[in-house]
Structure formats: C-alpha cells, structure tokens
C-alpha cells in the first residue's frame, strides 16, 4: 500500500505545476467564497428590529455579488485544471501499462488470464480515475476550507471557533474507523470482479462452443454463483463505506448545535451580533462539510488505491531485460546453430534436453513428429520468445541472447498455426511487416500466395475492413493473409508452423510453389505434419517427447526404417 502511494506520487509528479495551480486556485476560491457569509452577516446586521439601514446594506450586498462572481470563475478554472490532471494521469498510467504489456516476457502473458489483464488496464484504471478526480476536486478545497473557516470564525468569536475546532475532529476519527474496515471489503470486491471478468471473457469469447455443447445453462449458473458472491461483497463494501457520511454528519449536527448554543449565549452577553451568529453558523456547516467530504473522499481514494495497486502490480512486473546495450545481429546469411539446449516450461517437466542442430544458409529444416513433441517450443526458443535454460542458440555465430531481440526477430518471417489478424483493413494486415510497401508490392505478394483472387472479390478489395480476430474471413483466408504478410516482408529466415494446414490442397500447391521461390537461399524451419512439404527438406528432424530421435534426409530416414518411416507409412493408413 505504501509502495503504491509512492508510485502514485511519482506518476502525479508529472503534473506538478498544474497541481500547484489547482491548489492555489482552490485556496483563492475558498477564501473568497468564505468571505461572502461575512458580507451577508454584515448586511443582516443592518436589519434591526428598530429599523433597516438600506444604504450600508446595499454596499455589503454589491460587494457580495462581485466576490461571488469572482469565486465562480476561479472554481470553473480549477475544475478544468483538475480534469486535466486526472485524465492526463489516467492516460499516463494506461500508456505505462500498455507499454509494459509490450515488453513483458511472453511467459507472463501466456500464464495470465487475459480477462484479468484487461480488467486491470480498463476497469481498474477507470475506477482509479474516478477516485482521483473526486480526490482532486474535493481534497484541496476541503483542506483550505477547514483552515480558512477556522480563521474567519476566530476573527468573529474565538470562543465559538474553539468549540467548533475541538469537536469537529471527532468526525475524522469516526471516518477513519469506518474506512479502515472497508478497505479489505473493497479489496475482496476487486478480486471477485477480476474472477468474474475472467469467466465472462472465457464464456463470451467461446460463446459458440458454449451453445453448441448445451453449456449455456451451466455457464449461466456458474456466472450466477460468482455474481451472487459479488453481490454480497459489493453490498457490504458499499454499505459500510457509506456509513462514513451519516455518522460524520451526525457529529456535525452536534458541532452545529454546540456552536449555536455557545453563540447564542455569547450573543446574549453582547459578545456577538445576530449577523455575526448567522455568519458563524454558516461557517460551522462549512467547517464540518469538508471533514465529511474528506472522509468520503478517503473511501473513494482507498478504493482507487486498491485499483492502483493492481495496475502497478502489472506495471512493476519485470520486463524482458533491456537489450539496448547489445549489438544488433550483423547481416544474416542463415547460419543457425543450436548447442546443447535444454528447456522446460515448468521445472518438474523437462521438455527439450541436450538438443543440437547446425544449419547452413539456405538449408531447409523440417521438424516432424507426433503432436506435443516440442515442435512449437522450438519456435519459442528460436525467436527468443522464451529463453533457453542451458546451452545456447547462435545465428551467424552470435549467441542470440547477446544481440538485440528486434534484430533477431526481424531476421525471421513467421507464420503461426493460430492466425492472428488485427482490426483494420486487409491491406493493413498485409503491410504489418513493411508499412511503406506500395500497392503494387502488396498486390504482387498477394498474387504470389494466391490470396489476391479472394481479396479482390471482397466487397472493398484490399480496403475491406477486417473485424476483431479476423471477423468474417474463413480460417484459410486468414492463413493466406498471414502468409502474404511474410511474403511481402521477405526476411532472410523463415519459420512456418503448420502454416498451410487450413488451406485447401489446390491452393496449397500454389502457395508451396511460391514458398519455394521465397525459400530459395533462405534458411527455413518448417514445423509441419504434411510429409509432402517435408520431403524436399535438406534435413528432417524427427522429434518425440522433446528429443530429436532421428535426423537426416527423407531417403536416408526411409532406408533406416525407424520412427519416421512409421509416420510416413501411416499417412494413407486406412481407417
């Protein structure tokens, strides 16, 4: 919690000048607004039971009008500044969170529920913003009001002021007591909300499977259970936090009464005019009000702090170590070697052990094996999405952990099994690796991968918007776009992960021919189950349970009659 506040302070520090402005305006507008009751008191004193002195009264009233107008202007400017501070801070925090997401190790992203991360960046930041805005618009004014009112009261009647000053802090104690007990409730609420968001994310994202399998009813029940839990927690959190207001208000009414009593007694003794009493009563309400508000603000801020905590947890997550001091890879020819590499996702389940591989420029390496044998893991390591636990991988003789990630990754063109398209146009999705590509280049690449023919039939051709997650495009079309993307950026090395598995064979044949062209002279790693794609490889790695069990060309492996031959022969095995 302390840490969170420190982080918050450092974030807010950026708007330091504005905050000083805001504080100054708060002080000025409060002082002016508090001066108004004195003027009204003065005016009321001109009304006596013996008669009314209209001329001096008018003077007081004109002054009051001018000051009220000035106050309003100051308040307005302050409001705008406060908005700016709040929204700028939110923007900064969101940007920080997002930048962190871009720099986090993939391991963190793979292991977190995306709904939970989303709820931190969206809902928590919002909640935090609301708390912050409330804090700003009321905290400064509150503090200034307290001191200024006290000053004004002292100037009218020290005795009455003393009563007010001594009794009011009572409400602070009450507020603190309540706030302390609500903090944990809000924390719990945040946690349950996170759970609920994760469930929503999962069930709504998988809505089609849910309805196909008749899971709707149970999905609703599960949601109902979390929802009810949330209901109980929220109700308690909200109720207990809302106790602050009425209890402090009750303390205030006691203060008000005490001021009234002492004031009236003083007035009888002649130490106070009726106008003065009226002013001091107004002050008494105004003096206690910020105490209420501050306690309300404290609850809101507390809630905000809980949210901030969750956001900073994300922001403070250690990113991938910076590689800015490292050299970039020199020109990539395609020499890759894997030396004694071991790797596992979790300690207790070793996956790849003592893996060795040497690849010369232009070679084509096919990786085959039963599903789950560690083929995708190899990509994670080659691209440095994950780091090896021991051994090393080199490109052009350079250990890839000793060069910049971007220079390594730019050397590869990758097509994954899970196609990923972003919202934007078809063209946006193709030029992702080469943003300055001309239309001709885009079309050329699309023709090479045979994506052109379906793209031109889309309603707006290359400018057709692609919805979230590819929207209405078919799996094969999405895959073609992903291939075109790589075709366009023409990197020196390629990684193809079962890339063609969703394309019909007729198209695939053509794509393969295009790939042939693309792969010429380039080092390529192909993770594929299609033996047809594999047979033209310079080297085939046959993987099983994380290990390379066989290594060689198609012919030599067939001759050997081992695991590869078994895989091959089952290709057309009848069901």
């Amino acid at each position: 919690m302390k840490n969170t506040l420190k982080r918050l302070a450092s974030v807010l520090g950026k708007s330091g000048a504005l905050m000083i402005c805001s504080a100054a305006l708060a002080a000025a507008s409060v002082l002016l607004s508090l001066y108004v009751p004195i003027l009204f008191g003065g005016a009321i004193d001109q009304i006596t039971d013996g008669g009314v002195f209209f001329a001096p009264m008018a003077e007081f009233l004109v002054k009051a009008a001018v000051i009220a107008a000035a106050t309003a202007v100051l308040q307005w400017v302050m409001g705008i500044i406060n908005n700016r501070i709040t929204f700028d801070t939110v923007r900064t925090v969101r940007a920080m969170a997002f930048e962190k997401i871009e720099r986090l190790p993939l391991k963190y992203i793979d292991q977190s529920a995306s709904g939970d991360l989303l709820s931190r960046v969206i809902a928590d930041v919002d909640q935090f913003a609301d708390g912050l805005l409330m804090g700003f618009s009321q905290f400064f004014t509150g503090i200034v009001t307290i001191f200024a009112t006290l000053g004004f009261m002292l100037s009218i009647s020290p005795r009455v002021a003393l009563v007010a000053a001594l009794l009011t802090p009572l409400s602070l104690f009450v507020a603190r007591f309540v706030a302390k007990n609500t903090h944990s409730l809000f924390e719990k609420q945040s946690k349950i909300r996170g759970e609920q968001t994760a469930l929503i994310d999962e069930m709504i994202g998988g809505a089609k499977v849910v309805s196909a399998y008749g899971y709707s009813g149970r999905s609703k029940d599960r949601f109902g259970a979390v929802n009810r839990e949330l209901e109980t927690t929220s109700r308690r959190a909200i109720f207990f936090s809302s106790l602050v207001n009425p209890t402090t208000r009750f303390v205030n009414s006691i203060v008000y009464t005490a001021v009234c009593l002492i004031g009236a007694m003083t007035a009888i003794a002649g130490g106070l005019t009726v106008g003065g009493l009226s002013a001091i009563l107004t002050y008494a309400t105004q003096f206690t009000k910020p105490f209420n508000e501050i306690s309300g603000v404290v609850t809101e801020l507390q809630n905000a702090v809980v949210c901030a905590q969750r956001i900073f947890e994300l922001i403070d997550e250690p990113p991938e170590p910076s590689d800015s001091g490292l050299p970039a890879l020199p020109e990539i020819k395609g020499n890759v070697s894997v030396e004694n590499v071991s790797f596992c996702y979790s300690e207790d389940r070793p996956l790849i052990r003592n893996f060795n591989l040497k690849v010369s420029p232009g070679q084509r390496i096919a990786i085959v094996g039963p599903t789950g044998c560690g083929k995708t893991t190899l990509i994670n390591l080659l691209m440095r999405f994950y780091n090896v636990q021991s051994g090393r991988i080199t490109v052009e003789g350079q250990d890839i952990s000793q060069v910049t990630r971007s220079s390594l990754r730019q050397g590869y063109g990758m097509v994954l099994q899970d196609t990923w398209l972003r919202t934007g146009t078809v063209r946006d999705n193709i030029v992702i690796g080469k943003p300055d590509a001309t239309d001709e280049e885009v079309i050329e690449a699309a023709k090479a991968t045979h994506a052109h023919s379906f793209i031109k039939r889309l309603p707006q051709g290359y400018d057709t918007p692609v919805g979230e997650d590819g929207g209405s495009l078919s799996a094969g079309q999405k895959q073609l776009l992903c291939i075109t993307r790589v075709m366009l950026s023409a990197p020196p090395m390629l990684i193809l992960d079962e890339a063609t598995s969703n394309i019909d064979t007729k198209t695939e044949l053509r794509v393969q021919r295009a790939f042939e062209k693309l792969m010429k002279g380039k080092t390529s790693f192909i993770v594929a189950h299609r033996l047809s794609t594999v047979m033209s490889a310079d080297m085939i790695l046959v993987m099983r349970d994380g290990n390379i069990v066989e290594q060689g060309t198609h012919d030599s492996l067939m001759e050997k009659g081992g695991f590869y031959a078994e895989l091959y022969n089952s290709q057309f095995a009848h069901g």
């Binding site: 009304i47 006596t48 209209f54 008018a58 009051a64 009220a68 309003a72 307005w76 700016r84 923007r91 997002f98 871009e102 720099r103 793979d110 995306s114 991360l117 969206i122 809902a123 909640q127 994760a198 998988g206 849910v210 309805s211 008749g214 709707s216 609703k220 929802n227 929220s234 909200i238 209890t247 009464t257 009234c260 009593l261 009236a264 007694m265 009888i268 107004t282 599903t371 789950g372 083929k375 995708t376 691209m383 990630r405 990754r409 990923w420 209405s472 094969g476 079309q477 073609l480 079962e498 598995s501 969703n502 394309i503 019909d504 044949l509 047979m535 057309f572 095995a573 009848h574 069901g575």
Partner: protein, 574 residues
C-alpha cells in the same frame, strides 16, 4: 430505459425504502433553521438561556433521528443498487447466451465484455448515488421553498424564481453531457480493443518487431479518449460555479426583500436568517446534486448501452420438439438449401441437397471459402438457411428446441476452445453427468489419453483457451469432448488439421468402430481424411460440384480428381 426497471425484481421494497428514509432525514434537517430562528427571536432577544438550551436539545434529537433514517437509507440503497445491478448483469449474461450466432457476431465480444463489466459497474454506482441523494436533493430544495412560503410569501417568491433557473442550468448541462459520455465510452472501447489485440497477438507483434508501432497506435487511441474525457469535463465543470453564482445572487435578493419586509414590520430578523439558511441549504444540496449529476449521464449512457443489447431479440425462434423420429430413414437431410449471411452481398451456399443415413459417413471437401463450414453450421442451427430446409431425424430443424437439437450433435469446430479447469471439467462441458470411465473412453478414442495421463489424468489443469496445450493436443481434447456426448451426429469441421497423419488415421479408425454408430460428417482439406466416407460432397463457390463415393467422384468430378491427384502425387514423392 424504462424496460430496465424490471430488474429491480426482488429489490423493489429496498428501492422505495431508500428514498423514503432519505426524505425522512431531509424533513428533519429542514426543521433546523426554524429552531435556529426560534433561538434568535425568542431566546437571544429575551435572554432566555433555558429556552436556548431546550432548543439545542431539540436540535440534537433531530440529528439523532436523522442519523437513524440515513443509516436505513444507506443500507437499502446499497442493497437495492447492488441487487439491481446483479440482476441486470445476470440478465445480460443470460441474454447474450440466448442470442444466435448472427447477433453475437454483430455485437462483437469485446463490446459484450465492456457492457457486462465496466458499464454495469457504472450503472451500479450511479444508481446507488441516485437512491441515496437523488430524492434527498429535490426534497430539500422544494422543502426549503415551502418552508420559505410559510415564513413570508413575498420573500419566498425569490425561491420560486431561483429554483426553476437552477433546474434549467442543472438539467441543461446534464443533457449536453449525455451524448458526450457515450462518445467517451466508444473511445474507451477502442482502447480496450487495442489492449485485447495486443494480448492475443503478442507473438506476431513481437515477431514483426511492431511493439513501437503498437505503442504509438495505442497512444493515439489513448490520447483520443483523454481528449474526449477532457471535453466532457470542461462542460460539467461549469455546473458548480454556475449554481454558486445563482444562489448567491438569490441570497442578495432575499436579504433585500427580507429587509423591506422587516422594515414594514411583517418579518423578524430571526426569520430573515432562517430564510437565508434555507437558501444556503439549497446551495449545499445543489453542490452535492451537481457532483452526483456528473455521474448520472455517464450511468444513463452505460445503462442505455446495456439496454441496447437486451433489446436485441434473437433472430432464431425456438421450436418445441424435443425428440426426433428415431426410425427416420435419414439422420440428416438438406433440401435445396441456400444461405446468405446477414449483410453479405452473395450467397455462401446455393441450392445444396444431400441425405445421410444414421451410421453413414459424409465427407465435405472443397477449396478455402467454398462454404464447407457454412454447410455444416446449418445442421445444429447455428445459422438458419435462407431458403430450403434442413431436416434432422425426420424433422425440420426449426421444429426442435435448440437445446434438444444441439444435444443430438457432437460438433467439433474449426476454431475450437477449451476452458480453464480440469480435463474432467472440459470433458463434461457437453455431457454433465459423464462418469470418469466414459470420459476415459472418449479420450482414448480421440487419441488423447496418452498425453492426458502423462499430464496427470483427468485432474490435469487446462489454462484459459488451452494455452498450456499444443494445437494438436487441444484438437484431440475437443474431439474427445464431442465424443463424450455419444451424439447421434458427429461433425468434424476441419478439426484434425493439427494432427499428424498417423494420429489422424488412428482417430478415423476409432470413430468408425463406435458402437452407437453415429452419422459422421467430416469437413477436411485432405483427401485422405474423407476418401473412405460413404459419400463425399465437393463444394466449389458455395455450389455442389459433385456428390458420391470416392470412386464415383474420381470418375465424374473433375474438381475432385484434381484435388486427389495434387495430394496423392505430392504425397508419394517428388
């Protein structure tokens, strides 16, 4: 918005009690200036200390009673607001589940998620505030005016003028802000989308080293959001200062008018102060109201977004039949079926007819985008045919209740999903009461038992979206999930694409040997996967380009021959 009111169900008493107790509290508060006036006019002027003391006692009593009412009000408000939101959230969640795929596609999942989470949270806090303060403020405002009229008619006219002016200001600013808040929400959705895409596409973005551009893109959207927020902020920030000026001008008028009345002997000094106090009370209340009202348009805008989704009817009317005709000749029949997706300009399927007996197998093959998935999606009514009819076990699919219809299917989708939880939970997804034995059997059939038992058996945990599984493992679990249901019709929509040929072949053999002999529909790109089917349909551009057995098609269909030769040729060597 009124249709949302029904979600107060079960919390109506609370929704009424909260404002009621607030009114009570307000009423007690309104008595205070009268007591003060009495102290000034009767106590101070006559120097009666006992009277002052007594009146102060009355004030404390008013405060205490006020406290009790407020506590009650806060409790009921919290219960009512939270209860309402939970009802609403559940209803929305249920409703989304009940929508057909067409509507779900139209809304988009990130938009549904914001509505279920941040929108409803905003509605909740708005409602809670409304229940607590919304009633109180008008009561104090109008109560103060009524009290003023009982004190002095002419002075009270100042109230009668001030209050409408204030109302115009407050309501005007609110109305101006509502559409702006809607825009803010839209911008927020873009920010959400960016974040979501960057989480799901982390690998691709990093592979292309697009992090800086993505940050730039996010910054743009984030700045956009910030700009909109500031714009609304500027307008709503005018509320407080405006009310402040108006009230103070009113007090000035009031003191002047009061002075004239006192001068004429129609009013006492104490009562002028009471009037002044009432006006101040209005100011305090309005400031509270203004702070509240800032959140009201926001809540209303969010409520509207929720209501919008709730108002979307499912385009699919549910039927009533719960059972098909088990002795029907065909498990699945398509009669002249065409399909055009809503908003599309061309048919995705055109005039397709086919028949499949129980126990028979059907292969669907054709190029990407030829309508294979669309074809199989029609059978469990994920979409409705635009013309023609689809029959399952002798009945038009529209006659069945969706639950019963889909219960007959084991549908393995192209884009499949597993859920967070154990393997067992995932296997029971479509078969709630499956025993461990049945699950194990299905896993074995789906060639998934080996890796499942290696991972720790049925209790092995699956991460969200099956993130801890390879593509092939996930596919096999999805297939097992369909088999656990022992469905009458099994559909595989290109669902063995990530499997190697050996596994795929074993899988096909296992399915062929199922003792309850379901009708099996297999969509695939691979000839080897479909060539042994009893019947194969070749699709080209949404039209049927041939239907028959492998041998028949080899003879008759040029498209089929082409596909076959391309695969077998490359399959057999260079």
């Amino acid at each position: 918005m009124t249709p949302l009111l029904k979600y107060f169900r079960g919390y109506r008493a609370e929704a009424f009690s909260a404002p009621f107790f607030k009114i009570l509290e307000a009423a007690f508060e309104l008595m205070v200036p009268f007591v003060v006036a009495a102290i000034i006019d009767n106590g101070i002027s006559t120097g009666d200390r006992g009277y002052i003391l007594k009146m102060c006692g009355v004030m404390i009593l008013l405060g205490a009673v006020g406290l009790v009412s407020t506590l009650a009000a806060q409790y009921f408000a919290a219960k009512g607001a939270v209860g309402f939101s939970c009802n609403l959230r559940q209803a929305l969640y249920d409703h989304i589940h009940d929508l057909s795929f067409t509507e779900q596609d139209g809304i988009g999942s990130s938009s549904m998620i914001t509505r279920l989470t941040s929108d409803i949270n905003t509605v909740q806090s708005g409602l809670n505030m409304t229940l607590r303060l919304m009633m109180r403020s008008p009561i104090i405002v109008f109560g103060a005016m009524i009290m003023a009229f009982t004190i002095d008619f002419r002075s009270a006219l100042v109230f009668a003028v001030t209050i409408p002016v204030l109302t115009v200001v407050v309501v005007g600013i609110t109305l101006k802000c509502i559409p702006l808040y809607t825009r803010v929400q839209k911008k927020l959705e873009k920010v959400l989308l960016s974040t979501k895409e960057n989480l799901s596409g982390a690998r691709v973005i990093r592979a292309f080293c697009k992090e800086p551009q993505e940050i730039e893109r996010f910054t743009e959207r984030n700045d956009d959001l910030c700009r909109e927020q500031k714009r609304v902020g500027r307008i709503s920030a005018a509320m407080n200062p405006l009310t402040f000026v108006i009230i103070n001008l009113a007090i000035i008028a009031l003191i002047r008018q009061g002075a004239i009345q006192v001068d004429g002997g129609r009013l006492t000094q104490g009562l002028v102060i009471a009037l002044y106090n009432y006006m101040s009370q209005i100011l305090v209340e309005l400031i509270k109201l203004a702070n509240l009202i800032i959140s009201i348009p926001k809540s209303l805008a969010c409520a509207k977004r929720v209501a919008d989704v709730l108002e979307i009817p499912s385009s699919m009317a549910d039927g009533t039949a719960t059972e098909g005709n088990n002795s029907a000749e065909y498990a699945l029949e398509y009669n002249n079926v065409s399909l055009r997706y809503s908003g599309a300009s061309a048919d995705s399927l055109e005039d397709i007819s086919l028949k499949l007996r129980p126990g028979e197998t059907l292969g669907v093959i054709g190029p990407t985008g030829s309508g294979k998935t669309s074809l199989v999606m029609l059978a469990p009514r994920f979409y409705d045919a635009t013309s023609g009819e689809v029959r399952v076990f002798g009945r038009d699919v529209r006659e069945y209740s969706l639950e019963a219809l889909r219960g007959m299917f084991g549908f393995v989708m192209q884009k499949n999903r597993l859920f967070r939880g154990s393997v067992r939970d995932n296997m029971r997804f479509g078969a709630e009461n499956a025993s461990d034995g049945e699950i194990e059997e299905a896993l074995k059939l789906a060639q998934a038992w080996d890796f499942v038992s290696e991972k720790g058996g049925l209790d092995a945990e699956i991460e969200q979206g099956g993130a801890n599984l390879s593509g092939g493992q996930a596919q096999r679990l999805c297939i097992a999930r369909a088999l656990v249901r022992r469905p009458k019709i099994l559909v595989f929509d290109d669902s063995s694409s990530a499997l190697d040929y050996a596994t795929d072949a074993r899988l096909r053999a296992a399915i062929g040997s199922l003792d309850y002999s379901p009708a099996v529909v297999t969509v695939s790109q691979r000839v080897s996967t479909v060539m042994h089917c009893d019947r194969i349909i070749v699709l080209e551009d949404g039209r049927c380009a041939g239907i028959g057995t492998h041998d028949e098609l080899m003879e008759r269909s040029e498209e089929y021959r082409e596909i076959y030769q391309s695969q077998i040729k490359t399959g057999e060597g260079k």
